[in-house]
């Protein structure tokens, strides 16, 4: 059951070949059997899952269903789940039982998705390796010496190990696409504003976006349909007519103009990764696409400005963690200042503290113009590079990560090296554009993903490209040894 697509599972459920309870139990058993090897889950919600599966089975019998009714899903532990621990990978929220559901969770429940549990992640979504979680590192099922990527490493690893057929992630600087690439699964970051951020623990408000992850592009499309939609409770949620992201999945790629940024295929990209991507891009050509060189001249500034903007926004968003109303509180505070300072020193990990402090500095009196404002100006230049490029081409294709998965511990003590691994993903968040990562091959037995970036609201086209590519390749169906 864990190798089937959602369409096959949905058919199986509707035709009563198996029940949602049986399907759910299958995945719960796999989590029990395999997750201690990869640590992809923080919380497994067994009772809730079985209750939701039973309710789904009732719906399936009466015929009141949605294509995803009864299908199991794992949610990144950044989405508030009412009555269920929501930790964001942090000691600060280790004792936090969310009093409400995020919109993403609500939408999932409404269509009858069955929540298997909450997946592990870099603390407060800050990281590219899922090595900063309070709940321990997540290991890449393809090679347990390797990182799964981050910050949605738990979701990506759980999908790769076939512990869940669907997962949610969030992407602020690449945190869906990069772990998807490193784990050989498919993940999409939607246009900013398409997926409601209500109940999604905030890291950098102008960059954060929740998005779908799965093994197959068509499954990602099905989940995207559920996740999107105007939400009045999110002031950045866009009010647009609802779209069906599955309708164009099978469209021909003839005439598709693909832009290849000169800056992405330059030094810094591992030569073997470049080779894998070259082969993948040729496949797209065979499917009818034409290739065009484009320029994104300000791309080299994307990482530096991101590491001002994101920390600045995070320093503001994480100011709420003060030990007063919820979450961790230090013991025996001497006075209010001591309460704040020790709660935050003890509750946050090193990377989170680093970023809060950089952000505080960048926003402080005397530095705001030189850092934050300057970064936001360059941000406009980066967006304009893309606007110009999309006048010439339909989509932009490139690497997700400069290398395949690196080893656990390799970059964790060198923040800048870690930050530079986001070089191909960050600019898309800065510009608010949609992008996906799809499996495209392997280097030294570790997966490599190809990134497809689109113009605003062009998710359907990105999924179409990924789906057509997956119809003539089989990278996305491969399962790591030991997890079959």
């Amino acid at each position: 059951m864990h190798t089937k697509t959602l369409t096959e599972l949905g058919l199986g459920l509707h035709q009563r070949q198996f029940s949602s309870v049986e399907l759910t139990q299958h995945f719960l058993q796999r989590i029990q059997d395999y997750d201690d090897q990869i640590n992809s889950f923080i919380t497994v919600t067994k009772e809730i899952a079985l209750a939701q599966a039973q309710a789904a089975d009732v719906c399936l019998q009466t015929g009141k269903t949605h294509p995803l009714t009864g299908i199991p899903i794992a949610h990144k532990d950044i989405f508030c789940t009412q009555g269920v621990k929501t930790s964001c990978g942090s000691k600060m929220l280790d004792n936090f039982i969310a009093p409400y559901n995020s919109t993403v969770i609500e939408k999932g429940s409404e269509v009858g998705l069955v929540m298997l549990g909450k997946t592990n992640m870099d603390e407060f979504a800050m990281g590219s390796s899922t090595e900063t979680s309070y709940y321990g590192i997540v290991k890449n099922p393809w090679d347990i010496q390797a990182v799964p990527g981050g910050s949605s490493g738990g979701s990506a690893a759980a999908l790769a190990a076939r512990l869940t057929p669907l997962a949610t992630g969030t992407d602020t600087g690449g945190s869906i696409r990069q772990p998807a690439s490193l784990c050989g699964v498919t993940g999409l970051k939607p246009t900013y504003g398409l997926v409601s951020r209500y109940g999604m623990i905030a890291f950098a408000s102008s960059l954060d976006q929740g998005g779908p992850m799965a093994c197959h592009a068509q499954d990602v499309a099905l989940l995207l349909n559920v996740m999107t939609g105007f939400d009045p409770r999110d002031s950045t949620s866009l009010n647009r007519p609802k779209e069906d992201y599955c309708v164009h999945l099978n469209d021909s790629l003839t005439g598709l103009k693909i832009g290849l940024p000169k800056e992405y295929f330059a030094e810094g990209l591992d030569a073997q990764v470049a080779q894998v991507l070259e082969v993948a891009i040729k496949e797209l050509e065979k499917l009818g696409a034409t290739l065009h060189e484009i320029h994104l001249p300000h791309n080299h500034l994307s990482v530096p400005i991101y590491y001002i903007i994101a920390p600045a926004e995070c320093s503001s968003n994480l100011a709420r963690y003060d030990g007063v109303r919820f979450g961790y509180r230090c013991e025996h505070p001497k006075d209010l200042m001591d309460l704040y300072k020790r709660t935050r020193a003890e509750g946050f990990g090193a990377e989170v503290k680093r970023r809060i402090m950089i952000g505080t500095y960048a926003l402080s009196a005397g530095y705001y113009d030189a850092y934050y404002l300057q970064a936001q100006k360059i941000r406009r230049l980066i967006k304009e590079d893309f606007v110009k490029a999309f006048q010439e081409v339909d989509v932009i294709v490139g690497p997700v990560s400069p290398t395949p998965a690196f080893n656990i511990g390799e970059k964790v003590n060198d923040p800048i090296t870690m930050y530079l691994s986001d070089i191909y993903t960050i600019s898309v968040n800065l510009a608010g554009l949609p992008a996906l990562s799809m499996p495209a091959g392997f280097v030294k037995q570790r997966p490599v993903g190809l990134q497809v970036m689109g113009n605003y609201f062009d998710e359907a086209r990105l999924l179409n490209i990924a789906h057509r590519y997956q119809q003539c390749t089989s990278w996305h169906t491969m399962i790591p040894q030991g997890f079959a």
Partner: protein, 95 residues
């Protein structure tokens, strides 16, 4: 851009994060490295550019000024570290 110990202590104070004496050198190094890394931003002339705070340049959406939420104080206070008669308790602020 190399930060001095006093600057790091000031930042930590603004951020309300306690830093021990042992921590300070590491954070000073890390923060200085990051600031040196972002210096590249200054190689570009941005004098004629408007800052972009939102990817789609949208403005805040307004709604009519009417009460739409219920008071759920008790529910939300169930998870508080210390509460009493509807108030959150903290160490004494005024001597």
């Amino acid at each position: 851009m190399s930060l001095q110990k006093e600057e790091v202590e000031k930042i930590a104070h603004l951020a309300r994060i306690a830093l021990s004496e042992q921590d300070i050198p590491l954070y000073t190094r890390n923060l200085s490295d990051i600031l040196a890394f972002v210096e590249q931003m200054n190689n570009i002339d941005t004098s004629k550019i408007t800052p972009m705070a939102h990817p789609l340049d949208t403005v805040a959406r307004l709604r009519t000024d009417e009460v739409i939420e219920n008071n759920q104080r008790d529910l939300f206070q169930e998870i508080a570290p210390q509460v009493e008669t509807g108030l959150y308790l903290v160490p004494k602020v005024i001597e």
